[in-house]
């Protein structure tokens, strides 16, 4: 490890969600490493459950609420709850919003659960945690320049909305600003928030394929070497469903962060082996 672990640590509660443990192991591994460099101490919620994913809110609104609430009651009030998966983030944040606006729901939760959901519990996506950091300090902490790498930043759809949630000022260019601070060349392209098809990948693969190909085609046309995304679902869909002849690797935001902050080649190869489109040729030129 060439990067230095940070000496002062800030505590956060952490909700990993199902993907981090399975289809996005590389995201989880690189996140843990990036957090060491950044001084973020992620404390996993004890015995968390699935947030209900898209399926609960699609076919059982009540169950969707119940599943998300159980997780929220596990979070202590005095530290923010960091979420890595945008879909979990949306479900948890939306449920908290429903609770805040309904006395009836608050009473119901108080009746059924051992712990209440803290009124002031802050639910925050990891991207915003990093986005709120001082860019100059972040740049000073970086040990490796990403100079020479052209990157298409891709947010996916789940971080925005639903109304009345609006992205915080600056959030819409958060990945771009960070990549530029690390020396990478950010390309401008069109489909930065185009939906990848999420669960249609299972039951209507041809629909997800068309969405994914639209995204990949414009990323490739922009001249990017790789795509960097904040969403684990988008990452796997883009890798799995793209049928374009030319495709570029899709990295999790946490991977590029850990690389810039000091992970070495052996370390990044331990996550890159989980990728279906190999990112190693792009990064080997950076040197270990």
């Amino acid at each position: 490890m060439t990067g230095k672990p940070s000496s002062d640590m800030i505590d956060f509660s952490y909700y990993p969600g199902c993907s981090m443990a399975t289809t996005a192991k590389e995201c989880s591994l690189s996140l843990i490493q990036a957090c060491k460099y950044l001084g973020l101490n992620l404390i996993e919620l004890d015995d968390w459950n699935c947030c209900g994913s898209s399926s609960a809110h699609c076919i059982d609104m009540q169950l969707s609420f119940e599943l998300a609430v159980r997780n929220l009651t596990l979070a202590p009030p005095h530290r923010p709850l960091v979420v890595m998966c945008p879909s979990c983030f949306r479900n948890l944040r939306q449920t908290k919003h429903h609770l805040a606006h309904s006395k009836k729901l608050q009473e119901l939760v108080a009746r059924r659960h051992l712990n209440p959901v803290a009124d002031n519990l802050e639910i925050i996506h990891f991207l915003s945690v990093v986005g709120k950091m001082d860019l100059k300090k972040l740049k000073a902490k970086a040990t490796r320049s990403l100079k020479g790498i052209k990157i298409a930043p891709y947010y996916g759809c789940m971080l925005a909305g639903p109304p009345p949630f609006k992205p915080e000022p600056g959030d819409s260019v958060c990945i771009e600003r960070m990549l530029e601070a690390f020396g990478a060349q950010v390309v401008l392209w069109s489909n930065i928030r185009w939906c990848c098809g999420t669960f249609l990948t299972a039951s209507k693969p041809e629909v997800a394929r068309d969405a994914v190909n639209t995204i990949m085609e414009s990323a490739v046309a922009s001249g990017a070497d790789c795509i960097v995304t904040a969403c684990a679902m988008c990452q796997i869909n883009l890798e799995m469903r793209c049928t374009q002849e030319k495709k570029i690797p899709i990295l999790h935001f946490s991977e590029i962060l850990a690389i810039a902050m000091g992970a070495d080649e052996n370390e990044w190869n331990t996550w890159f082996r989980y990728h279906l489109v190999d990112p190693r040729p792009i990064f080997s030129k950076l040197g270990g």
């Binding site: 199902c18 289809t23 429903h98 606006h101 119901l108 909305g161």
Partner: protein, 188 residues
Amino acid sequence: MSGNINIHPEKVRGKSLSEEIRNLCGVDINTCLQCRTCASVCPFYEAMENAPHTLFRKIQYGLREEVLTSSAIWICVGCNTCASQCPAMIDIVAAMDALRHLALEEDIRIPEEDILNFHREVLNSIERYGRTHKLEIMLRYKIKSRHLFSDLDTGVVMLARRKLDLRPSRVHSAKEIKRLFKKAWQKT
């Protein structure tokens, strides 16, 4: 999103479909302007037999069965691209949740059975383990939908790259999770 979900949905009955949607999720479809913004930004518009704005017009007209048997309400993944641009600020995703709820309640023909089967397998997995076990979800879904051999190559690659775990990750408080699924408890 109004923060107005009804989690005791037996009380939704209303004079019209739009009233029932309002009772379920607080969204008023009658404010739709028919500007077509939703249709022009929807990534899955071509896969739907009714564009979102057409669906809303039919709701305004009270064409209940046509709306509830529409494939569009199942194909919508809730990406919020439409809702974030709707000039009438209609929470379209919440309305779609409500429409699916009503369709399931009516016990009418669901045009996208595969999508429904997939959702059911995801929820079954959460009920069993508290978390999703993706390999089992896919296998059970493929058996149920009789697509056992479709997508086999993708599955093999996913297994080889250790993207699909053989064993599920479990919540320790299994009883607590099972209880969340009990309808009787949900009504307390």
